[in-house]
Every structure is written in structure tokens, then in C-alpha cells.
């Protein structure tokens, strides 16, 4: 049906491009489930601590190791009798913030490197892409732990370290996308119009790669949350008393047989957040890919 109809393609397929993307996303069940879950988790983390009767730092020695649903401790308490729910929500703020901030930073680094590498090709592009590849050669978790061991482990540092070790995927996606867009006639047209490199890169090329960048960014949040949990679990990440889902797990290890909920509940939180972001990412990818509903 290549020649089927020019008008059909222009008028109906593309006119509704934006809303069609949205419709495809809305029809994606898993993505919507993910979105609902993330919004739920987000709201709980922001509002939760105010609604609960206990502050996360309140120590209630008498109520140590209360299992979930004891009195007002809906998720139970830890070894110092601190309310687990309050701690979980506060930790969620930290973990989500680290995830989102790391995503923004790594997407920014990845996009700029990918854009420059893809646009200039030749020497600059080759050097930048080889650099990207060499970063990918290191197992990320070791890179992360090494850096974390040398630097002061606070939320800001952890965010920075995660971003610095996870921009490569975005860079590769962007550079591949740019390399194919670069050959399109509208870029040649811009060159003939006398446009500067900066104009072509940021005004002509970048807006056309937004779709894949958003997908990669969403998946990066999931990865960043997981990485923060790893590092904090191993004790090199966010340090107590500031809670994070990772260091809550670390702390829970020693009480695994007496108070398993201390490990299970943060574990569920991490899993839920990570899978939700992954579902959203998959949904976005399908929604942005117009081929997915072609016949």
C-alpha cells in the first residue's frame, strides 16, 4: 500500500500525531498501571509523613519490633521502635529524588554528548563515541562503588555518581538518532539557508529526538533508583539517620528472622517503583513508535 494515498497519510495519520501518541499510551494497560502506581507512591511519600501520627525519628523503646498493624504503626516498627511507615515514606522522598535528579543529569550529559558526536561525526564523533564505549566497558556497579568509596557519601554525591555512570545509553541513542536525521533533506536545507551548527543541532535536530530521549530518561529513573538502593544497601550510599530504601534494607539484614517486614516492605517499595517506571518507559516507547499500530 505504498502508493495508497498521499492524502490519507498526511491528513489523518499525521494530523493527529500528538493525540494518537497519547491514545496509544492510554491504551497501554501496563504503562497506565505503572503511572498510577508511581503517582500513588509519589503522593504517599510527599503527603504520608504528615498524615501519620509518628515522626520518623520518634524512638519508642517500648514498641520495638512491633509487627505491621500494631496500634497506629501500620507498617510496624524497627529495632528502636521508630515507625516504619514514616521512615519508608521519607526514604521514598530521598530515593525518588535521587532517581529523578540522576535521570535529569545523566540525560543532559548523554544528550549533549550524543548530539555532538552524532552531528559532527568524523573525528569528534568517533572520539566521543569511543569514550562512551569505554565507559560502558566497566561494570557500572563497580565503577559506582569505587567512586562512592572515595567520595563523601551524601545524597548529592550519590546522585552525581549515578549520573556520571549512566549517561552512556542516552548518548548512544541520541547519537544514532542524530546520525540518521542528519542525512535528511531538511538538515541540508538548513545548511543551505546559512544556519549555524548550533542552530542545526539545537533547533533542527534536537526537537526531533525528544521521543527516544523521553523513553530512555524514564528507564533511567528506574535504573537510578535501583543503583541508589544497591549502593546504600552496601553501605556506601545515603548514610543513616537519613533513610533511603537501600539503607533501610541494609539495616534490616540483621533482623531478617525476627522482623522480616523490615526488609520486605522497603523491598516491595523498590520493586514497585522500579517496575512502574519500566512499564511507563515501555508504554512510551510503544506509543511513540507509530509503526506499532500500522497494519
Amino acid at each position: 500500500m505504498a502508493a495508497a494515498t498521499e492524502q490519507i497519510q498526511t491528513n489523518s495519520k499525521l494530523r493527529f500525531f500528538e493525540s494518537r501518541t497519547l491514545r496509544r499510551f492510554v491504551r497501554h494497560r501496563l504503562a497506565i498501571t505503572g503511572l498510577v502506581m508511581i503517582v500513588g507512591i509519589g503522593i504517599l511519600c510527599v503527603v504520608g509523613p504528615w498524615l501519620l501520627p509518628h515522626d520518623m525519628l520518634d524512638i519508642n523503646i517500648r514498641d520495638r519490633f512491633s509487627p505491621p498493624l500494631t496500634d497506629t504503626f501500620i507498617m510496624g516498627t524497627d529495632e528502636m521502635g521508630r515507625d516504619l511507615a514514616a521512615r519508608l515514606f521519607m526514604a521514598g522522598r530521598v530515593s525518588l529524588m535521587v532517581g529523578i535528579a540522576a535521570m535529569i543529569l545523566s540525560t543532559l550529559i548523554g544528550t549533549v554528548i550524543g548530539l555532538v558526536a552524532g552531528y559532527f561525526g568524523k573525528v569528534t564523533g568517533t572520539v566521543l563515541m569511543r569514550l562512551t564505549d569505554s565507559f560502558l566497558c566497566f561494570p557500572q556497579i563497580f565503577l559506582l562503588l569505587t567512586l562512592a568509596a572515595f567520595l563523601e557519601p551524601n545524597a548529592f554525591m550519590i546522585t552525581l555518581i549515578i549520573a556520571v555512570t549512566s549517561w552512556m545509553e542516552v548518548a548512544r541513542i541520541v547519537s544514532a538518532e542524530i546520525r540518521s536525521l542528519r542525512e535528511r533533506d531538511f538538515i541540508t536545507a538548513a545548511r543551505i539557508s546559512g544556519a549555524s551548527h548550533r542552530w542545526i543541532m539545537f533547533r533542527e535536530l534536537l526537537p526531533n529526538t525528544i521521543g527516544p530521549i523521553i523513553v530512555a530518561a524514564t528507564l533511567t529513573i528506574a535504573k537510578a533508583i535501583l543503583l541508589e538502593a544497591y549502593v546504600s544497601f552496601l553501605g556506601y550510599g545515603i548514610q543513616p539517620p537519613m533513610p533511603s530504601w537501600g539503607n533501610m534494607l541494609n539495616n534490616a539484614q540483621q533482623f531478617l528472622d525476627t522482623a522480616p517486614w523490615l526488609a520486605i516492605i522497603p523491598g516491595i517499595a523498590i520493586t514497585a517503583a522500579v517496575t512502574s517506571f519500566n512499564f511507563i518507559g515501555d508504554g512510551l516507547r510503544d506509543a511513540l513508535d507509530a509503526r506499532s499500530d500500522a497494519q
Binding site: 491528513n11 533533506d185 538548513a190 543551505i192 526537537p207
Partner: protein, 338 residues
């Protein structure tokens, strides 16, 4: 042709090295454009016709300065592009604009018409503000036959023919003297093609444009051009004023092209010359005359040396060693079959 030509190329060559194998090895060279010398007089249209692999688009890109020629020179209004200062070059580039083949990929899908048409102004007339650029865009849109209020629309809201008009408008935004049109109607439907060709003709006359019109379609080239050059395997094999070329072709390839062009007539059909085989690969062109492998009139000598263009009549040159051929013209009719 007393005035100096606006565009002049001298023995222009564009070779592309092809690396063979993973570790270099012997590299081959594709001679996409292999020594082209043409002149385009001011205010006239040179049609460049050829099949795929003839190098016609590569030549067009070299003329536009999009690629750096391997050898030879390209002069615009007396200034050699290779030695021009960057300030001179900037001025020249404003005067040379281009219209593309594919109306879909030649417009940025994320930019409104006003933005797309504003790009050349931003860089060549930076004193204009946004509102002025938009006014100019709307004005130009009307000039190419679209309502001025369409400036706020996006490319996907237009049909192929309308997009092609927008492409033409973009090329005209900075008042160029020269337009290179590369297969600008081949992606369009017949009825729309006529609209766009008429627009080109009108704009060329009104704005006194000089044009290089590249196409594979002989009938189209015959309609728009003052002169026609026929390319085959990176070389011009014949160049002549349009009427002359169509009525008395001197190169066998031109004859074959004319005869193969389909015409919607059932009676008095022209004699059809069906060539053997395909265009040879530019990686491995035949020795001597590049056309000899498919030429029905080839002689043994044709393999010996590459024929140069030589004058058959005033302004009519062809690269064929044979003088004795009487080739069929576009209008020659078939003899009644016995």
C-alpha cells in the same frame, strides 16, 4: 550568451573512495562525477537529465557547495568557490538556493511554516525581528500560491504538492539568483506535478532566476529547460539547446532515452529502441566510451579512448566519435509495420 555565465564548472570531478574490507585493503574509487564542464547563462534554465547512477544529483550537490569537489572548479558570477574568502562565500551562498525532491523529508516536522521560512532570514538578514520574518514568510507563501495565513501550520497538515510549494518558498526567501532543483516533481502526482512545474516556470520568468533543473524525466526537462545536458556514468554525453536536442539528438544514449520515454499514444508510436542491460557500475566503468556496452552503434574504436564532447552544431555538443549516424528524434514516427 554575450553576458558571462552565472554558473560555470570546469572539469568538475567528484570521486568517492570506497574502503574495501575491514582493515583498509585496496580502496576503490567511485567516479560519481568525472569531469563536467558546463555553463549556465544568466536567467536561463539548464536541464540535467540522466538515469540513476548517472551522477546528476552528486553534480548538483557539488555545484551547491555541499560537497568539496575532488578536482576542477566551480565559479559563481566570476568567483571561484574554492578560493573565495569566507565573507565572499557567505554572500554567494545566499544567492544560491535549492529545492529538494522529497516533500516529506525536506521540511522539519517540528517547525511551523513561519519558522521554516524564517531560518534563511535569521542568518542572512539578522536585523529582522520575529514579526517581520513572519510577514515575509506569509508574503512568500502567497507568492507560491498558498494562503498567507497558513504560516502557522505544520508540515503534516499539507499535501505533497503544497509542501513542495513551501520548499520553493523557502528557497526564495533570501532572493537568490540561482536555484538548483533536484527531481522536484518526481514524487508528485501527475496533476499536482503540472501545478508545481507551472509555478517554477512563472517564478523563473518573474524573478529572472537562473536554474539547474535535475530530473530523470525527459518530458519534464523538455518543458522547463532552455538547454539540456544528458549525463551518463558521471559524464555529460550531450548538451544542446532543448529544441535542438529533442529534434536532432547526436548521441545514441539520448536517442535511446527519447525512445524509451513512455508517451500516451496508441497510434503512430515511435520506434522503440530497447537498450541491452543496465547502467554499468560506476565502480567499474567500461573502458573508452562509457556507453559502448549498451550502444547499438558501438564500433571497435569506441573501447579505445573516452570520447570528448565535440561540437556538432552551434551550441550542440556530443561525446560520440561517430558522425555518420542519423538518430531518431523525439517526434519521429514509426514506419508502418510490414
Amino acid at each position: 550568451m554575450s553576458e558571462k555565465a552565472l554558473i560555470e564548472t570546469r572539469d568538475l570531478k567528484q570521486h568517492f573512495p570506497l574502503r574495501k574490507g575491514l582493515f583498509g585493503g585496496k580502496s576503490q574509487v567511485v567516479k560519481a562525477v568525472d569531469g563536467i564542464s558546463i555553463e549556465i547563462p544568466r536567467r536561463s534554465v539548464l536541464g540535467l537529465v540522466g538515469e540513476s547512477g548517472s551522477g546528476k544529483s552528486t553534480f548538483g550537490q557539488a555545484v551547491m557547495g555541499l560537497t568539496k569537489p575532488t578536482a576542477g572548479s566551480m565559479t559563481f558570477d566570476g568567483i571561484d568557490m574554492a578560493t573565495a574568502s569566507s565573507a565572499e562565500l557567505r554572500g554567494l551562498k545566499r544567492r544560491m538556493q535549492m529545492v529538494f525532491q522529497d516533500p516529506f523529508s525536506s521540511l522539519n516536522p517540528r517547525m511551523s511554516v513561519a519558522e521554516t521560512l524564517g531560518v534563511p532570514l535569521r542568518f542572512h538578514e539578522p536585523q529582522l525581528n520575529g514579526a517581520q520574518r513572519k510577514d515575509r514568510a506569509a508574503e512568500m507563501l502567497e507568492r507560491v500560491g498558498l494562503p498567507g495565513q497558513y504560516v502557522d501550520r505544520f508540515p503534516h497538515e499539507f499535501s505533497g504538492g503544497q509542501r513542495q510549494r513551501i520548499g520553493i518558498a523557502r528557497a526564495l526567501m533570501v532572493h537568490p539568483d540561482f536555484i538548483m532543483a533536484d527531481e522536484v516533481v518526481s514524487a508528485l502526482d501527475v496533476s499536482v506535478q503540472a501545478q508545481v512545474l507551472n509555478l517554477f516556470g512563472r517564478l523563473q520568468r518573474d524573478l529572472e532566476l537562473t536554474m539547474l533543473f535535475i530530473t530523470h524525466d525527459l518530458a519534464v526537462v523538455g518543458h522547463v529547460s532552455d538547454f539540456v545536458a544528458v549525463m551518463y556514468l558521471g559524464r555529460v554525453v550531450e548538451i544542446a539547446p532543448t529544441r535542438e536536442l529533442f529534434s536532432s539528438p547526436k548521441h545514441p544514449y539520448t536517442e535511446a532515452l527519447l525512445s524509451a520515454a513512455p508517451t500516451p499514444q496508441t497510434k503512430n508510436r515511435r520506434q522503440r529502441i530497447v537498450l541491452k542491460g543496465d547502467i554499468p557500475s560506476p565502480l567499474n566503468p567500461p573502458s573508452g566510451c562509457p556507453f559502448r556496452t549498451r550502444c547499438p552503434y558501438a564500433l571497435e574504436e569506441c573501447a579505445h579512448s573516452t570520447p570528448e564532447l565535440r561540437e556538432f552544431a552551434s551550441g550542440h555538443k556530443a561525446a560520440c566519435i561517430r558522425d555518420d549516424l542519423s538518430l531518431a528524434s523525439a517526434t519521429q514516427q514509426q514506419k508502418e509495420p510490414a
